[in-house]
Symmetry: C2
Subunit: 478 residues, 2 copies
């Protein structure tokens, strides 16, 4: 960067609130001169120059995670400008923090040299995480600068799926033997320049690297210096295999309040560790993915994705929705004769379908959540079904009666009121049944129960609702 | 508990998979003799007795968080049985871990003495967390057994709202002065019986308890023993006030990869700390609450809540849904004349409404997520609206044309095809606009943008879709 400026240092303890509004204002104001800024030219307009200096100083004070958050919140042009102005030494960290969609746009805006500089400081596991999004040439050159051990680590990490522990484990850890005194451990630690992030425990291994236990730092600090590690260490260790699912690992971290945990191979040899910061990201992504999936969004979308990218991300569920809506439409089509005779049916049928969809969504959301928490075993499904059917029956009788009376008064037709009560109750029962069965079936089939569940349940309660209501009306009112 | 049994100890390093299926089977099998078990009588049936011993041994090996998870997954009777058989010394921890709804049912099943025993081991902040759900008498007696300092801590914690940092901060922490050598700190720590959970840093305070900085254990362990704390400590500390919102605190933990952080009062005095394990719970609950709220569930529901409790938890959004469905129905009612003339309109109108609802849900879900991440400032809303309208326009023209052609062929009426294209495009534009505006307006009004957003958007796209489609048809086809 060619612009000289003073970066204010954080002198007191007050934490810096991330003023995203101000960054949005500044980057918008600077947009007209963005090409000059990116080419390193002097900005002559004094006011704009002041704004530029302010923006740079704000950005340089930000934590990489905050920079990532800011970048995600900006439209493409402002994003490129801010990315150009952010501290280049943090580029690698920022790339790790941003969402996949935004990461692609940032990497596209960088040349090979910038990319190599950005990934230079990254650990092996971090480089592996980015590798899939980087041009092959960059990955190849970045690997050349590493030693054989690190190259092997990167390749090992890249060999696992994104949802496996192996893909997010890191290789920076401290291990010791069981037969040394705590004092020796403390002396050994002092020889490190610095300890890996989140070091809350030291891993105890034998001469074959087989994990024997862990020595929590909390215990090491209060232990008698003469005491042997084997007498202080914990042996009931929550540990993982690289093939383990990250969501299950995250749930274990959550339940057992872990900060780090060892990863071992099939021979119980220590090969890496996973840390709570990665697990927090997994938990956030997992619950968010459920939410996005239920609404029929395929993946986390760049807020300011080009319109066609957004269309692509959403088209599938819209297409499925159209197909199911078409089926519902054909159901109604089959009863056109009845509707011609009593046109009120056309006005009332969406009420029956709508309450079924709403109630079904409540049921399915609850079940999807219980499944995500691992609380649903096969024997439970039947009981839950019974309970949900009970709830549906109560709701159906209450709300069905309300709407039945309203319809009776509105159309002065007692029969319509009765059909309304029956149809609403039956559609709520259908919603409850399908709301339990869809996620259970998806789960049995090895699919994510959240995926499009909202679209599916609505499809069933729409077609079902129309069929039940118009069918009953045709039988009893014609 | 009167039953003698051997509790198998965990001898090797393998972690215990939580076999929830087996616990469900055993508790169901033991249900017929549950009253004998609860009264401490001998079970004569040998097979059942074997099962009882197995269930007890499984339960006693479980971590309190796993016991909580098991309890949440069980219907009422089995839940009471398992709760009775679980290790009583962990009762307090389990009560802290279970969801609010299940906690109430567990507390109801315990008498004063059991409750007092359960909360006896809890820290001040934990007792405060439970206090709201405990009978007043129990809270009063539990406080009598504590010293004045702890009583003050419990009362302080209880004075904050559930969503404030003060309600979840804990008081167990280690603090030191800045002007001592690291060696002195290590000696000081060794005098502790044990260090508080998650101790990754020691807080540095002056003689008035004003926070000066933090000494990360990672740094302490590698520091020169002669070095003074003030030369090793970090002074740019992320710290919180007890009034701060817990969700914002959780986001800070997530961004800055924190394990613990200090809480200070208005005079910058250190009064407590918050830890990552609480924050992980906050993150999980926050994203889950968004999911439940969008579907119109008021709160996390006990899976096996009595039917009437479930009805109560869900009635409000169902009632709102009924009102909006009634409005949509009246919109259709206004066009009964048109439907009588062209009955095909009745069959086609749900397609227009349906695709609007689906697309609107996609938009609103994305916006709610961006808001939860703090990425949406006022200036952005206008741009997002422009982008979403663009996406809607493309989708409307594509899918509108598809359905327009289908309708044209199906009903052999070119006019209906054109009305279909126009109505679908307009309803998608309406969905995009309202999908952006609802959460922005909710947020401006200080309400949770996730709350019932799915029900609201569907209401607009239903009534709007019927109005647009039937309106256009009446104008152009009659």
């Amino acid at each position: 960067m060619s612009i000289e400026q003073d970066i204010p240092t954080q002198t007191d303890l007050d934490r810096l609130p991330l003023d995203i509004e101000r960054i949005h204002e500044l980057s918008e104001a600077l947009l007209p001169v963005s090409s000059q800024i990116e080419e390193g030219q002097e900005i002559e307009d004094i006011e704009l120059n002041t704004k530029l200096v302010e923006l740079i100083s704000i950005l340089h004070e930000l934590h990489p995670a905050d920079v990532a958050n800011v970048l995600e919140s900006l439209p493409p042009k402002e994003r490129t400008l801010v990315w150009h102005l952010a501290a280049p030494e943090e580029d690698g960290e920022v790339l790790l923090e941003v969402s996949d969609a935004v990461r692609e746009t940032l990497i596209e805006s960088m040349d090979t040299e910038e990319l190599l500089a950005a990934v230079d400081d990254l650990d092996a596991d971090e480089l592996a995480e980015l590798a899939g999004d980087l041009p092959h040439q960059v990955v190849y050159e970045a690997l050349q600068t590493r030693d054989a051990e690190e190259r092997a680590q990167v390749q090992a990490a890249m060999s696992y799926e994104d949802d496996q522990v192996g893909a997010i484990m890191d290789f920076e850890l401290v291990s010791i033997r069981a037969d040394v005194a705590c004092e020796v451990v403390l002396r050994y630690l002092r020889r490190f320049e610095s300890l890996p992030d989140h070091t809350d425990k030291i891993f105890v291994v034998d001469h074959d690297d087989v994990l024997q236990g862990v020595l929590p730092i909390r215990k090491l600090l209060v232990a008698d210096p003469e005491e042997l590690v084997e007498n202080v260490m914990a042996t009931d260790v929550v540990r993982f295999r690289p093939e383990d699912n990250v969501e299950e690992a995250a749930q274990a971290f959550e339940r057992y309040d872990l900060v780090t945990a060892p990863v071992v191979d099939a021979d119980k040899k220590l090969i890496g560790r996973i840390t709570i910061d990665e697990m927090v990201d997994v938990i956030r992504e997992e619950t968010e993915a459920d939410m996005l999936n239920m609404a029929g969004l395929q993946e986390e979308e760049d807020l300011f994705a080009p319109i066609l990218d957004s269309v692509k991300n959403r088209w599938m569920w819209l297409a499925i929705n159209l197909c199911t809506a078409f089926i519902a439409s054909r159901v109604i089509g089959a009863f056109e004769g009845s509707i011609e005779k009593i046109v009120a049916l056309a006005a009332l049928m969406p009420i029956v379908a709508g309450i079924g969809g709403n109630s079904g969504n409540q049921t399915i959301t609850m079940i999807v959540r219980a499944m995500a928490m691992g609380q649903l075993s096969g024997t439970q499904a039947g009981r839950l079904l019974k309970k949900e059917v009970g709830v549906a029956l109560v709701n159906g009788l209450i709300w069905g009666t309300v709407m039945g009376v309203v319809s009776w008064l509105l159309y002065d037709n007692f029969g319509i009121g009765l059909v309304m009560i029956a149809a609403m109750t039956l559609n709520l029962l259908l919603a409850a049944t399908v709301g339990v069965l869809i996620p259970v079936a998806m789960d049995k089939a090895g699919r994510d129960p959240a995926l499009g569940s909202s679209v599916l349940i609505t499809a069933v309660t729409d077609s079902g609702g129309f069929l039940i209501f118009l069918g009953l009306a045709t039988i009893f009112l014609m």
